[in-house]
């Protein structure tokens, strides 16, 4: 169950160009969170960044009661987060949203992440009981790359693509998925990243009849289901489509449900 929490920051450090890792002490989050869930952070007291900022939970340490976030500095809110110091309090709500379905029937899985979408997937790999776990990670350029070693340790294989070819394969991460899709016989594809990537992954999954879960992103007012701003169009069973909430009906959806517009 999600709670309004005031937790202590254990540390903040730079992890890659413009990306920071924050470790937060929280018995509640670490013992309740599942992969795919996020926390919603008030980056400052007062009105400077008025709304909370949603950030995925990247890993939890249940024994020590702490969890990790990775965030990219984009604007006011994340800038203020990056300036926080260990020992300060963090005002968060969480864990929020529905996580990935990690049914043990999914024995061969693919994990497809793009940019800041890779973070919840690390948590997923930690928790997944699948036998074969193939990770495909895509980045704009080598400068944004991080957590490769962590992904490698938790995957059967890891491949990386950069748009500018500065590391790994040049091109899109979806090209790698497409290349392997026939031979690998995945039971489930898990994807998180930018909208065009998710659409492409869904198409690939659809085309090959493979089940796929995507974690969607949308601008949020509250993060816990009250304001209806974070709309995502999905199909109902009867074929009609309607808006549901990314924050509390998602962020993870079966890719077939999502109306990619």
């Amino acid at each position: 169950m999600s709670k309004l929490l005031r937790e202590v920051i254990i540390g903040v450090e730079k992890a890659a160009k413009g990306i920071y890792r924050m470790t937060v002490a929280s018995a509640h989050i670490s013992s309740n969170a599942v992969p795919g869930q996020f926390v919603n952070i008030k980056c400052c007291d007062g009105t400077q960044a008025l709304l909370r900022r949603p950030v995925s939970i990247c890993s939890v340490d249940r024994a020590e009661g702490k969890f990790d976030l990775y965030f990219q500095v984009k604007g006011t809110g994340t800038e203020m987060l990056a300036r926080k110091k260990s020992g300060e309090f963090l005002d968060i709500i969480g864990p929020l949203g529905n996580g990935f379905d990690l049914d043990i029937a999914h024995r061969r899985i693919a994990v497809v992440g793009g940019g800041i979408g890779i973070f919840p997937l690390l948590f997923l790999l930690n928790e997944s009981k699948a036998v074969v776990k193939r990770s495909y990670l895509g980045f704009r350029s080598s400068e944004q790359i991080l957590l490769l070693e962590e992904f490698r340790q938790r995957s059967t294989s890891l491949e990386t693509a950069t748009e500018d070819g500065s590391f790994g394969t040049k091109g899109f991460v979806t090209d790698l998925l497409e290349r392997d899709i026939l031979s690998e016989e995945f039971d489930m594809i898990y994807a998180c990243g930018p909208y065009p990537m998710l659409r492409k992954v869904s198409e690939i999954a659809e085309k090959h009849g493979i089940r796929c879960q995507v974690s969607m992103e949308q601008r949020m007012g509250c993060g816990f289901g009250a304001c209806l701003t974070c709309a995502c169009k999905t199909y109902a069973d009867d074929g009609t489509s309607h808006y549901v909430r990314v924050c509390s009906d998602g962020p993870v959806f079966n890719s077939k449900e999502v109306v990619f517009e």
Partner: protein, 306 residues
């Protein structure tokens, strides 16, 4: 030392305290129940209802602005009948007043909803004649004295619950609009709804909201809201419910002093799910500090500078 009595009576609706959750920022109470005890909230104005279910606008539907936010939800809601069947029973578990916020495309729709809801177990109806996010319909009514008279007097015929008319701030003379609503039979006025605004992403050169424009709320609008509550409460005799940027007890007290009999808390509920309770506690502290025993004693206690 006198007791501090937080209860207020707004046109016959008894509230245990003057803090009401504003429509659209509190859903039907379910989501907030996880963070706060709904019994401690004076009332809940539920998400704006329409006669038939509405799917709302395309996302993005929210943009942050300096000390405020724009929204363009566009009245996504499951329809008034679904509300009666599925949401009222949930809300009635709690001792908080239920206010049904309604919006229609035509006067007939408003009347039909008022009629249906008059038989439902709710405490009051709030007429949203001011939503800036839907193209046809409701906004037009709130912009002119003729429009507001017409809709208020028509709905009045069908409405057997206390009728609160909620005003849009996007007008030249808010007191003229309020006076028209009062003359046409409103039991109370609530204001302000959101100010129409736009935010542009300069990299894509597109408005951030898919709907292009949206409604501005939050602390940024507070001075405009306080001024309008002041103007309206000097004009009408019916109670005024003030809102616009209330985040703290002090903010709420500003509205009470300006002339509000109760307040609504909107945007703050999104950021701090326990905002209504914090605001209420802040009001109580203020009353104790200044020796006010009843909320009504603060209402309209503004001393004008001369």
């Amino acid at each position: 030392m006198r007791e501090t009595d937080l209860s207020v009576d707004i046109c016959g609706v008894k509230l245990k305290n003057p803090v009401i959750a504003a429509s659209g920022t509190f859903g039907f109470g379910r989501e907030h129940a996880c963070y706060v005890d709904l019994n401690k909230i004076g009332g809940i104005s539920v998400k704006g209802l329409t006669l038939r279910p509405r799917e709302g606008n395309k996302p993005p539907r929210v943009a942050e602005t300096p000390a405020g936010m724009l929204n363009s939800v566009g009245l996504q809601n499951p329809g008034v009948r679904h509300f009666i069947e599925n949401e009222i029973p949930f809300l009635r578990q709690y001792s908080t007043a239920i206010i049904a916020n309604i919006a229609g495309n035509t006067i007939e729709e408003y009347c039909e909803m008022a009629e249906i809801l008059s038989d439902a177990d709710i405490d009051a109806i709030e007429l949203n004649v001011s939503c800036p996010n839907v193209k046809a319909g409701c906004v037009a009514f709130g912009n002119t004295t003729e429009g507001i008279s017409e809709i208020t007097s028509q709905v009045r015929k069908y409405c057997r619950k206390p009728l609160i008319v909620k005003l849009t701030p996007n007008v030249t003379s808010i007191s003229d609009i309020a006076a028209a609503a009062e003359a046409a039979g409103a039991d109370a006025i609530s204001l302000i709804n959101t100010l129409l605004g736009m935010a542009i992403d300069i990299e894509t050169r597109r408005p951030i909201l898919a709907n292009n424009t949206g409604g501005l709320s939050g602390p940024a609008v507070k001075p405009v809201a306080v001024r309008m509550v002041y103007e309206v409460s000097r004009t009408v005799k019916i109670p005024v419910i003030g809102m616009g940027g209330i985040f703290t007890g002090s903010d709420a007290v500003e509205f009470l002093i300006a002339g509000a009999s109760a307040v609504m808390v909107g945007t703050a509920n999104l950021v701090y799910p326990d905002a209504c309770i914090k605001v209420c506690e802040g009001i109580e502290q203020y009353m104790k500090r200044h020796g006010f025993s009843r909320v009504a004693d603060i209402t309209g206690s503004l001393i004008l500078n001369t």
